[in-house]
Symmetry: C2
Subunit: 207 residues, 2 copies
């Protein structure tokens, strides 16, 4: 499939693009916000589209069959950007996917987004993720939502624990998260599912 990666320039996003590129069945389209981010993907021979999640980004959906949404405002900006990017960016990406008849939408969420009220920290962040998740779930799209534990920059292990609930607290390399998102794109019984994800004992290709 021709897969739009929203948030391609992020730490998970770059790994998603590489994972997609390594498959035979998918072609990534990297959506980036800044001109200077294009070269990185050009050097990988990956198509890019210059579009801003805070602006009008419908042009990015040209001939797109699937979307992986991995954008996040990150820790260097304030909670206002969490609303604008993590929540509203994801909601608008969902709306555009409906409008453009995208076949599959994989959303990177966060562990705890099922119960933001219980959170001691980053409650506003988990509410924003929760609200985006709920919007996608109600959209009628074929979706998969993945809620990883703490993200690390370690090299991927290729082995994970992916469950609909109860994986417990844990961490996982961003490289493995990306590989799981790409794997789930075409996994039929992942449609309409919400998963928790940490490192574990199951090979990603066996999921």
């Amino acid at each position: 499939m021709r897969v739009l990666v929203i948030g391609a320039n992020g730490d998970v996003g770059k790994n998603i693009v590489k994972s997609l590129k390594d498959t035979e069945e998918h072609t990534p389209v990297a959506m980036v916000r800044k001109e200077e981010q294009i070269d990185y993907f050009k050097n990988l021979n990956v198509e890019t589209v210059l579009a801003d999640l805070e602006g009008d980004f419908e042009k990015a959906y040209d001939q797109i069959e699937a979307v992986i949404f991995a954008a996040g405002s990150g820790p260097s900006t304030g909670p206002d950007k969490t609303v604008i990017v993590d929540q509203e960016g994801a909601i608008e990406a969902t709306e555009l996917a409906q409008k453009n008849r995208v076949k599959r939408f994989v959303l990177l969420s966060a562990m705890g987004a099922d119960q933001p009220k219980q959170a001691d920290q980053i409650k506003h962040y988990l509410y924003a993720k929760h609200r985006a998740d709920e919007y996608l779930k109600a959209s009628g799209l074929d979706y998969t939502i993945v809620r990883p534990g703490e993200l690390t920059d370690d090299t991927g292990k290729g082995q994970v624990n992916l469950q609909e609930s109860g994986v417990g607290l844990g961490s996982i390399p961003r490289e493995d998260v990306a590989a799981v998102l790409v794997h789930l794109l075409t996994k039929k019984d992942a449609e309409g599912k919400v998963y928790e994800l940490v490192s574990g004992d199951t090979k990603i290709e066996d999921l």
Copy 2:
């Protein structure tokens, strides 16, 4: 009706409680977060319920027939509280109204919440208000949403401009906003409507 005022201790909220008290048909129940906020309402001979919008506040809905939601995190806290209070507080208040078969829900929103993307400033705030508005609109409740312009502490004029759209930029005393919210509680053709509101030439009782 027995009307729960959420955000009763706020500047608009206090005026709502007084407006309700001045009617013959309504009995206000003031939901407040802190013990020390109770006396103010006791002195007015108004029933209070001590409950936190960020916690479990279902007990506040005991025998409640209508809700006016006027809570806001205000300018002295960060955008994280905007998500938690203005957005998620309103969404949970809506869910509890559904669950407890509340007959009428009047929500204080903000001008510009229809098109947050166009905003130069307070975009995250308008998105939060927008998301809460959308949730209420889809809830199946009999709702009215009011989006006032800039709020002032001036004495109420009793005359306003209330339209579904196009009132233009303007301001309005909080006292008048409160009086309009209370007036709309029992106005049959305000059900399912979203209004903009600024000061104007129409007497509130003629709305």
